[in-house]
C-alpha cells in the first residue's frame, strides 16, 4: 500500500513523510477534540451554575437576608419636588399619600379571615392551607428559615410572593406531569402513525409534500403556538367540551402536542425508513398484506427508534416554557380533572425569574426547579441511550 501511494525516493524519507502528516493531522485532531471537550465543559459549567444557585436552600443563610428586610422598613426615597411644586400649587407630598385605595374594615385584616380556599371541581381538602402555615402566619417573616422552606416543598400550594412564602413543588410536579401526559397521548399516536403512513403507504409525491409540511411545524416559535392556543384553541375547545376554565391542562397539552409532533415524527420516520427492505419483501412474499407488513413487521422492527423519538418528545414537552405560560392558566391546582388549570415547572421559572432578588429563597427555589428539570432530562436521555440501545435493540434483533 505504502509503496503504491508514495513511491520511495531519496528526497522523501519515511521519517519526513510521517512528520508532515503528523502536523496537519495533529492540528485537526486537536481542534476537533477541543471543540468537543469545550461543549462538554460548557454543559457541565451550566449544570454547576444552576445547582450552585440553588445551594443556599441546603445551607442556612436566610438570617442575614431577613435582617436587612427588617431594617429597611424605615427608609423612604426623597422626592424630587422643585419642578413638581411649580407645576402644581397644592402640596405635592400630601397628594402622594392620599392616592391609595381606601382600606376596608380595620387596618389589620387577620389572615384567618381571608384564607385562600379552593372552589370548583378541585378537591377541597387538597387546597386548604395546612395548619403549619397558620402558625407561620402568626410568627413574623424573619422566622422563615431553611427547614421551613423545605417543609413547604411537599405541600401543594405555590405562593412565592407572600408574607410567608410557600413553595409547594408537589402541585407544580403534578401539573407538569399532567400536561406532559396529555400532550404525549395526543402527539405520540398521531406522529407515529403519520410517520408509518409516509414511510409505508404514501406515494413518493405525497411523502414529499407531507414530510416538509410537518417538519415546518417545528419552525414555528413556541410563542406563536402559545398565542394560537390562547386566542383560538381555548375558545374552540371550550365551545366543544363546555368546561369551566378556559385555559387549562388540556389546552396546554394540545398546544404542546403541536410542538412535539414534528420531533417525534421526524425521528420515527427515520427509524421506519431504516428498517431493511428485506423485511418488507420477505413479509410480502409470504403473502402478508401491505397493512399487515406495516403494523406487524416494520413497526416492531423500528421500535427502538420510535421509543427514542417518544422520549425526546417528552423532553420537549417537559421543558416547554412559552406555551405553558400562555395556555395552561398557571394556577397550581391539584385535581385529576384535565380541564383544570395547572402550573408547570418551566413556566414557573419563565414567569417569575425576571424579578426575583439574587440570593433570595425564591431565587434559590427557582434554580432548584431548574436543576430538577436538568436532572430529569438527563435521566430521560440516559434511558433513551442505555435502555433502548442496549436492551430493546438486542431484543428485537433476536440476540
Amino acid at each position: 500500500m505504502d509503496s503504491k501511494l508514495f513511491p520511495k525516493t531519496k528526497t522523501f524519507t519515511e521519517e519526513s513523510l510521517k512528520k508532515q502528516f503528523r502536523i496537519s493531522e495533529f492540528l485537526a485532531e486537536k481542534i476537533i477534540s477541543s471543540v468537543a471537550f469545550l461543549s462538554i465543559a460548557v454543559i457541565f459549567l451550566i449544570f454547576i451554575f444552576v445547582f450552585k444557585e440553588s445551594l443556599p436552600l441546603f445551607s442556612s443563610g436566610a438570617d442575614s437576608k431577613a435582617l436587612t428586610e427588617a431594617e429597611a422598613k424605615t427608609n423612604k426615597p426623597e422626592s424630587y419636588g422643585a419642578t413638581a411644586e411649580e407645576l402644581k400649587p397644592e402640596t405635592y407630598g400630601a397628594e402622594t399619600e392620599e392616592l391609595k385605595p381606601e382600606t376596608y374594615g380595620s387596618e389589620s385584616v387577620s389572615n384567618d379571615d381571608l384564607k385562600p380556599e379552593s372552589y370548583g371541581d378541585a378537591p377541597k381538602e387538597d387546597l386548604t392551607v395546612p395548619s403549619t402555615d397558620e402558625t407561620m402566619d402568626a410568627v413574623s417573616q424573619n422566622q422563615e428559615g431553611e427547614d421551613k422552606t423545605w417543609s413547604t416543598f411537599f405541600t401543594t400550594e405555590w405562593v412565592p410572593v407572600s408574607d410567608n412564602p410557600r413553595f409547594g413543588l408537589l402541585g407544580l410536579l403534578i401539573g407538569t406531569l399532567k400536561v406532559t401526559i396529555i400532550a404525549m397521548l395526543i402527539a405520540g399516536p398521531l406522529a407515529v402513525l403519520a410517520a408509518l403512513y409516509t414511510s409505508c403507504f404514501a406515494s413518493k409525491r405525497v411523502k414529499e409534500i407531507i414530510k416538509p409540511v410537518i417538519e415546518m411545524l417545528a419552525a414555528f416559535p413556541s410563542v406563536v403556538i402559545g398565542f394560537f392556543a390562547l386566542m383560538v384553541l381555548a375558545s374552540f375547545f371550550q365551545d366543544v367540551f363546555g368546561y369551566d376554565s378556559r385555559l387549562n391542562a388540556f389546552i396546554g397539552g394540545v398546544a404542546m402536542a403541536l410542538a412535539a409532533i414534528p420531533i417525534i415524527y421526524t425521528i420515527s420516520e427515520d427509524a421506519l425508513a431504516a428498517v431493511p427492505k428485506t423485511y418488507t419483501e420477505a413479509s410480502l412474499a409470504l403473502g402478508a398484506s401491505k397493512w399487515q407488513t406495516a403494523f406487524f413487521v416494520i413497526l416492531p422492527a423500528a421500535t427502538p427508534g420510535i421509543f427514542a423519538a417518544l422520549l425526546l418528545g417528552i423532553g420537549r414537552v417537559f421543558g416547554e416554557t412559552m406555551i405553558a405560560l400562555m395556555a395552561t392558566g398557571n394556577a397550581a391546582l391539584v385535581s385529576a380533572n384535565p380541564f383544570e388549570s395547572v402550573r408547570t415547572f418551566a413556566a414557573t421559572i419563565g414567569s417569575e425569574m425576571a424579578e426575583t432578588v439574587f440570593g433570595e429563597t425564591h431565587y434559590s427555589v427557582l434554580f432548584f426547579i431548574g436543576s430538577l428539570l436538568f436532572i430529569f432530562s438527563f435521566a430521560l436521555n440516559a434511558v433513551a441511550e442505555f435502555y433502548v440501545k442496549g436492551k430493546l435493540l438486542k431484543k428485537f434483533q433476536g440476540k
Binding site: Y80, A331, S351
Partner: protein, 277 residues
C-alpha cells in the same frame, strides 16, 4: 515612512474624534415597567424630535427589572408602576449611599374587568379582595347568577400584581387565580369567559366591562373614568413613578422637567393614562 506615520496619526485622530463625538451625545437610558413602556416611548420620541442632540433609550421588562437595573447601575431612570420596596431602597443605600429619588409622573387607574354578559356591575373593595383571595367563589354571593367565579391575574413579577395584592387583596391570591402574561391577555380572557373577573390598567379595557367600585357598602359605585381617576374618587388608582439614584442632572434633568411640564403631561392622555393635574 514619514507619510505613512502621518496617515496613521490622521486616521487615529479621526477615529478618536468620531468615538468621542458619540460619547458626548447625552444618552439617557430608561428601563422598567411594561405598563409605562408605551408612555415612555412616546415621551422619548417627542422629546428627541424637539431636542435633536438628545438620545433617550427606552426598554421595558417590568417594574422590578427596572429597579434592579437602577441598583446595578445599568440604567439612569427606572420606571415603576409600584412604589419602591424597602428592600430595594436598602440596596440602593448600601451601594450608592442614597435613598433614591422618586418622581411620580402620571396617574393610572387599575380597573376591575368583568365580562359584558355578567349582570354584576358593581362590587365593594372588600368583595373584590375576598374574590381574589378565594373567599368568595360564587357570583351569587355578590348578587349575581349561580356560577363559579373565574379569576385572572398577573404573574408575581408584575408591578400591577404587587399593587393589587398590597392594596386590594391584602393577603395571598387564591391558588385558583390563573396568572397570564400581560394585561392584554387578561382582557382577552375576560372577554371570552362569561363568569370571570380580572384586573389591569384602565386604559386596556376594550371589549370588557369596567366594574364600578364601591369604597364600602353604603358609598356609590364609581367607574374608572378620566375624571374619577384624576380627582381621586375612584378608589383603586395609583401613581406611575420614575426612580433615580440621585437628583437628576444634565440631560436626564431636562427630560424629566419636560415630562413634568404641561407639554409632557398632555401626552399622557394620548397614551391612555392620566396626567398628574
Amino acid at each position: 515612512m514619514n507619510t505613512t506615520k502621518f496617515k496613521i496619526a490622521v486616521l487615529l485622530i479621526a477615529v478618536m474624534t468620531i468615538g468621542f463625538s458619540f460619547t458626548t451625545i447625552n444618552k439617557v437610558t430608561v428601563k422598567g415597567s411594561d405598563t409605562m413602556v408605551i408612555l415612555s416611548q412616546k415621551w422619548a420620541e417627542v422629546y428627541m424630535k424637539k431636542n435633536p442632540g438628545a438620545s433617550i433609550q427606552v426598554t421595558g421588562g417590568g417594574s422590578g427589572v427596572g429597579l434592579a437595573a437602577l441598583i446595578n447601575g445599568s440604567t439612569d431612570i427606572a420606571n415603576s408602576s409600584r412604589p419602591i420596596k424597602a428592600s430595594e431602597i436598602e440596596k440602593l443605600k448600601a451601594r450608592y449611599n442614597s435613598m433614591g429619588v422618586e418622581i411620580p409622573c402620571a396617574k393610572d387607574g387599575l380597573s376591575v374587568y368583568l365580562n359584558k354578559a355578567n349582570p354584576v356591575t358593581s362590587l365593594t373593595l372588600k368583595q373584590i379582595g375576598q374574590i381574589f383571595a378565594g373567599k368568595i367563589t360564587n357570583w351569587n354571593e355578590v348578587g349575581g347568577p349561580d356560577a363559579p367565579i373565574k379569576l385572572y391575574g398577573r404573574e408575581s413579577s408584575s408591578g400591577t400584581f404587587g399593587f393589587f395584592k398590597d392594596n386590594v387583596v391584602r393577603t395571598d391570591f387564591s391558588p385558583s387565580c390563573q396568572t397570564l402574561p400581560g394585561t392584554a391577555a387578561i382582557v382577552n380572557a375576560v372577554k371570552k369567559d362569561k363568569f370571570s373577573i380580572g384586573y389591569g390598567g384602565a386604559a386596556y379595557a376594550e371589549g370588557v366591562k369596567d366594574c364600578a367600585v364601591k369604597k364600602d357598602d353604603k358609598s356609590p359605585g364609581i367607574l374608572p373614568t378620566a375624571a374619577t381617576i384624576k380627582n381621586h374618587t375612584y378608589p383603586i388608582s395609583r401613581y406611575l413613578y420614575m426612580y433615580l439614584k440621585s437628583k437628576p442632572t444634565g440631560e436626564a434633568k431636562a427630560f424629566i422637567d419636560w415630562i413634568l411640564s404641561s407639554e409632557g403631561q398632555t401626552l399622557i392622555a394620548e397614551v391612555g393614562y392620566y396626567p398628574l393635574k
